[in-house]
Symmetry: C2
């Protein structure tokens, strides 16, 4: 394993051995560690002193099921905090097979430039990429596969990242070559854009396996773990059939589906945008409801969503996306929402941030609530870089300021996703306290609050929520370091045998002797590092709070977010 350091000022590419204390790290654990070690927390996120670190997880590239997650770490231009954003797709496995522990991109060109990084078994080269100027991710992928081969993995920026808009994502191609998987949250695409990089093409050539200390032991643990994943009703049945959109009806029933910019917990047209409706629609149009975003994924929560003519429209069409453009904006047309998902993938912006932002443009009366054509047009403006497009592309907090409205659901300037923190209080604790800015994936308390996974904690009461969020945030920080998809958390939470099998896989690959306690310690250490970075960047507990309007009562349960600041402040104390 090696670390590659790429300086975009002088265009140098150097290789380093992995430091001893980085050896046991991967994914988020490694990106957060390198950013903490090397980046001044007070630097401008788009300036010379920020860095962007790309790291596969500890198990990426192995036979472990659903182990294709890639971590990107940086100081976020959206939140100003440390950021780890991870994506599926085919990049992590390719990088791991090529022996990359991490790639560190630093400094930036003196003037605006467009380059691409070409990664092959021969090494890494930096090439001019002016011919990709202001092209969307779909076209970029087509051009680069034409140029570098059909099997090339492409990580790329759409127009948004090139313009350094703070909701810009980094797209990663899926198994079909579509740019549907994204490091979405926190504007990592803007940082890559500031470094003058439009795309990274990865061709592992004939290298198709990673090294194992004990291959047989790995196979044994991996098979046992895969069975647990497939035996769980959520990861084995719900996700493969309906994708994450299965949550639309569930959250609506729970009164936790934020509607009309968090004015209601239920959406009258939830059925029209539900996972069940999506499933029927996909089947009717000869799409595919059960699609893996990377080889070896056994949960296959992705899908191929075709348009009315049966032509491919989009994939990786998630619950949070459907919520953001749907219930949040009072839009009930699933095809329109699918078009918006595709536009976000193409332009390269986070769908959660974009959908919440469109709702804020409605709040500010720039377009009417529910105006699906207006919403689609606004997204197209982002791709054009018009002034209104630049407003929308900079996210919800920015758009709220542009239109002078204060009802903006953000924490640390990152949009609050698809679960109302008043009726799913555990997730509210996560939004407020994760070092990442509002992020459901950082500690997905929806499990015990709504899904009955990992026990059951009344989502409407404050009792137990802080502890629930704490435990999940710790476990997630560790899981985000393995390269395993977060959805393996479902079997882990319900099956005490699952987490030990992850330890067994790590031990079999790396000749280590870790167990569950070491995994927990790893999660805690990562969170401590991240909190320390944020503290030095100027964040205080006053930033670990939800917006004031969550003191308003939410129908149908008439609940407020009543967990106090003092209670929130204990969440990540350990």
């Amino acid at each position: 394993m090696k670390i590659c350091r790429i300086n975009m000022r002088n265009k140098s590419v150097t290789f380093e051995d992995v430091k001893a204390d980085y050896l046991a790290l991967g994914g988020r654990g490694l990106t957060s560690r390198i950013i903490s070690d090397e980046v001044d927390p007070t630097c401008h996120p788009l300036g010379r002193n920020n860095k962007l670190v790309i790291a596969p997880g500890l198990l990426s590239g192995t036979m472990a099921p659903s182990s294709g997650r890639l971590s990107v770490g940086t100081k976020s231009p959206l939140t100003g905090t440390i950021k780890e954003s991870n994506a599926g797709g085919t990049a992590a496995q390719s990088l791991a097979k090529l022996g990359y522990k991490a790639i560190i991109i630093e400094d930036k060109p003196a003037e605006h430039e467009l380059n691409l990084l070409k990664i092959t078994p021969e090494g890494i080269t930096i090439e001019d990429a002016d011919y990709l100027t202001m092209k969307g991710n779909y076209e970029v992928g087509d051009i680069l596969r034409e140029k570098f081969g059909a099997k090339t993995t492409v990580m790329s920026l759409g127009q948004a990242g090139e313009m350094r808009l703070t909701s810009a994502s980094i797209a990663v191609t899926d198994t079909e070559g579509h740019p549907t998987r994204h490091c979405g949250r926190g504007g990592t695409g803007a940082v890559l854009g500031s470094k003058g990089i439009k795309a990274i093409v990865i061709d592992p050539g004939k290298i198709n396996e990673v090294n194992y200390h004990d291959r047989n032991a790995f196979i044994k643990a991996s098979r046992s773990f895969a069975k647990m994943v497939l035996d769980h009703p959520v990861s084995g049945q719900g996700l493969p059939t309906y994708g994450t959109a299965v949550l639309v009806n569930i959250l609506n029933e729970a009164g936790g589906l934020p509607t009309d910019n968090f004015r209601d917990g239920r959406f009258e047209f939830a059925e029209s945008i539900s996972g069940e409706t999506m499933y029927e629609t996909i089947n009717k149009r000869n799409g595919n409801p059960t699609h893996a975003c990377h080889p070896g994924c056994i949960m296959k929560c992705s899908q191929i969503y075709n348009d009315k003519n049966g032509e491919y429209l989009t994939g990786g069409f998630e619950y949070e996306t459907i919520w953001a453009f749907g219930a949040h904006c009072h839009i009930k047309d699933l095809d329109a929402i699918a078009m918006m998902d595709r536009l976000c993938d193409d332009i390269g912006i986070d769908t959660i941030e974009a959908g919440v932002t469109i709702g804020i443009a409605m709040e500010g009366k720039y377009i009417e609530l529910g105006d699906k054509d207006g919403a689609i047009q606004l997204l197209k403006e982002v791709g054009k870089g018009s002034p209104i497009g630049r407003i929308i592309g900079n996210g919800a907090a920015f758009t709220g300021q542009a239109f002078g409205t204060e009802r903006v659901p953000v924490v640390k300037k990152q949009a609050i996703p698809a679960y109302d923190p008043r009726s799913v209080k555990g997730i509210g604790v996560t939004y407020a306290t994760t070092p990442m800015g509002a992020d459901h994936t950082a500690g997905y308390s929806v499990t015990a609050n709504v899904l009955g996974v990992g026990g059951s904690i009344d989502p409407l009461k404050k009792e137990g929520q802080v502890e629930l969020s704490r435990n999940l945030q710790v476990a997630t920080a560790a899981l985000d370091s393995t390269g395993l998809c977060l959805f393996v958390a479902f079997p882990i939470l319900d099956n005490d045998g699952a987490l030990p099998e992850i330890a067994h896989m790590i031990n079999a690959k790396y000749n280590t002797e870790i167990g569950v306690p070491e995994i927990v310690s790893l999660g805690q250490e990562i969170l401590k590092l991240e909190k320390e970075f944020n503290k030095n960047a100027g964040f205080t507990k006053s930033h670990d709070r939800l917006p004031e309007f969550f003191k308003e009562k939410l129908a149908p349960h008439n609940v407020t977010f009543d967990i106090t600041g003092e209670e929130l402040d204990t969440t990540l104390e350990f």
Copy 2:
């Protein structure tokens, strides 16, 4: 004296006696105290929980020379800090004569509304003002004087405040009825707009004097003080002749006139935009170079600047404005800059923020450096509320984010004004550490650094700068509480007899027994309150820093800003 509390939700107007511990406060001292006492530091600046406090100074309305400053305090939507922004014009004297210690505006209408406050000897009423929708300050003034009488003082918002753009100012009419005096910095106009108030009309009727404990003693101290002001070369000669624009040539000579977005310390066309050129131009066109913004001002730094046809164009045309649209944007046409000053006054935005922001739009290549027509057009767009106008109207940091550029001269998101902190290091200390965000008036170290007033401290060396800024920040906080124009600081700094005369005036009016030590204590107490508010709002010492690019060397002296964070952190320790 009384305090009036106006609730804009239920439209109540109530009067309160002045609390004992508010009696000795006025201006900034009182606004910062009330905001500290009554506003949650974590509230959204445009939400229901922010308040806006209007307070004349302790000496406003008296015979004291140049005592017409009005303070407006709030939590700033631009910086997120506590904010006091003060203006000249005729409002402070009228309010003081009507017996107002302060007016506190709280809560906000449920939906967007436009009202005006009518203040007369009979009391305060709230009236509908829909007929003023999206009108500029010049037209608003004309309409309201037509309606309420020619001598009415008008405080108003242009289009910017109505749209709650965060560089929005509150205009105050001068002695000609022109809206040339502004609470400019920090977006106080956006807060007033969020409260649903477009204008405040003040008619003191026949009340033309305030009460004095000892009128004769007041007259004596006041005359002595006035003589000191007139005897000082800056306040007695420089300002009345050339206005503050006298500084263009001085700062250019000192290598401290930031040019082309802080890339140079000298502007090749400085002479074209100098105070001397302005003076000649005004005289040639039968304007007036020596104009008082309020009755009783003896420094008369304002002017009437006519256009080429001899028609009134603008007034209150300041050095910082000329710098911002001039050297910073590489524009050398004084008439174009005067037009931009007028547009800012009319639309109701801070000229410093606006000029720096236009320069950032140039940095982001939205228009070309030096494009005066493009700059004028951008300001007009602010008045229209188009998307690009909303970007510009939200200031420099916002515009930098919109265009993905990190070279943005701001501290706490407020634009750095007209003195380069590398070659005038004392002012750099003030920018970094004042609780207000970058603000030259908060501790005007240019005095000893460049003007040789109050001693002389080498502006290129770090020695003595922290102490200089500290002393000036303390004195300024106190002066901002008196209602006296800040420019009385020139005689105060050079004449030990001046500050005692201010104490004598206060004592003669209020039957108190304060001296210079109490004035110093007052300044320190105000700064402590303000810092505490900011701390609770989430500010840390990491926010008391200049942008990274001030580590670049500045020509012609090839100096960097080399005062360390640790040194800066001692500035307001007392």
